[in-house]
C-alpha cells in the first residue's frame, strides 16, 4: 500500500521504509504539518475530509506520473483525514532515487499535484469561525471541468 488515506496519525518512519531499497541512496520526505498562523490569522485546528477511494487513485496517478518523469524514483504517500491539532502531520510524501537531485524534484512535483488533483479538503477552525479552504478564500474556476495539467517543474 504505497498510497494511503488514513484517519490514524502518520508515522514518518513507516512511510519512508516503503521506499528504502538497495538501489536507492537518497530519500526525500515532505511532511506537511498544521501551521498555527496563516496571514496573521490564528488557526486552532484543522479538519481534513477526503473522498478516500478516489483520493487513493489520484495519489497512485501521481506516483505513475513521477515514474514517467523520473523512471528510477519510487514514491509513497500517506494523507491523514479528520481533526488535526497544531503541528500534527497531515501528509507524508517519501521519494527514493539512486541520486538525490531527482528525489527533491519528484517530491516537490508530488506535493504540487496533490494540491491540484487529489479530492481532499481542509476546513480551518479559527477563534472567530471556520471555513472550507478552496471555497471562498482561494476560489478556483475550472473552465474545462477538470483540473489543468501542471506545467513541468
Amino acid at each position: 500500500m504505497m498510497f494511503v488515506i488514513t484517519s490514524e496519525p502518520i508515522l514518518i518512519e513507516e512511510v519512508t521504509n516503503k521506499v528504502v531499497r538497495p538501489e536507492a541512496g537518497a530519500v526525500v520526505n515532505f511532511i506537511g504539518t498544521v501551521r498555527e498562523f496563516t496571514k496573521g490569522k490564528r488557526t486552532l485546528s484543522l479538519q481534513y475530509e477526503a473522498y478516500p477511494a478516489m483520493a487513493e487513485k489520484q495519489l497512485e496517478k501521481i506516483g505513475a506520473e513521477i515514474k514517467e518523469k523520473w523512471p528510477e524514483a519510487v514514491t509513497a504517500i500517506t494523507h491523514r483525514t479528520g481533526k488535526l491539532a497544531i503541528s500534527d502531520i497531515a501528509v507524508v510524501i517519501a521519494v527514493s532515487t539512486p541520486h538525490r537531485k531527482d528525489a527533491y524534484l519528484a517530491n516537490e512535483y508530488a506535493i504540487e499535484r496533490i494540491k491540484q488533483i487529489v479530492p481532499i479538503w481542509k476546513k480551518e477552525h479559527w477563534e472567530d469561525g471556520e471555513e472550507w479552504i478552496g471555497d471562498q478564500l482561494e476560489k478556483t474556476v475550472y473552465p474545462t471541468g477538470k483540473p489543468e495539467e501542471m506545467n513541468s517543474l
Binding site: P119, D135, G145
Partner: protein, 76 residues
C-alpha cells in the same frame, strides 16, 4: 438512478452527503444544471467525478454510475 456524493462545503450547503437522482442517462453538464437549480449551488468551480475519475461536461452519466461533486481541493 444516479448516486451523487457531496463533499466539503457542498455537502454542508446541500445538507446531505449523498443525493439520489432519478435519471438513467444524462450528460455531466445537464446533471450539474439540474443540481444547480435544485440546490442553488454555484457549479462553475466544481469538478465532477464519475466512478472516481474526473469527467468532462460532455461525458455521459449512466444509471448505476457514482457521481461526485468535487469543490476545489485543498489537501497537502
Amino acid at each position: 438512478m444516479i448516486n451523487v456524493q457531496c463533499f466539503a462545503h457542498i455537502r454542508e450547503q446541500i445538507g446531505k452527503d449523498q443525493l439520489i437522482l432519478d435519471e438513467t442517462k444524462i450528460t455531466v453538464k445537464d446533471l450539474m444544471d439540474k443540481l444547480s437549480a435544485l440546490y442553488s449551488i454555484q457549479t462553475e468551480s466544481i469538478m465532477v467525478a464519475v466512478n472516481e475519475e474526473y469527467a468532462e461536461p460532455g461525458d455521459i452519466v449512466n444509471e448505476g454510475d457514482t457521481v461526485a461533486l468535487i469543490p476545489p481541493v485543498s489537501g497537502g
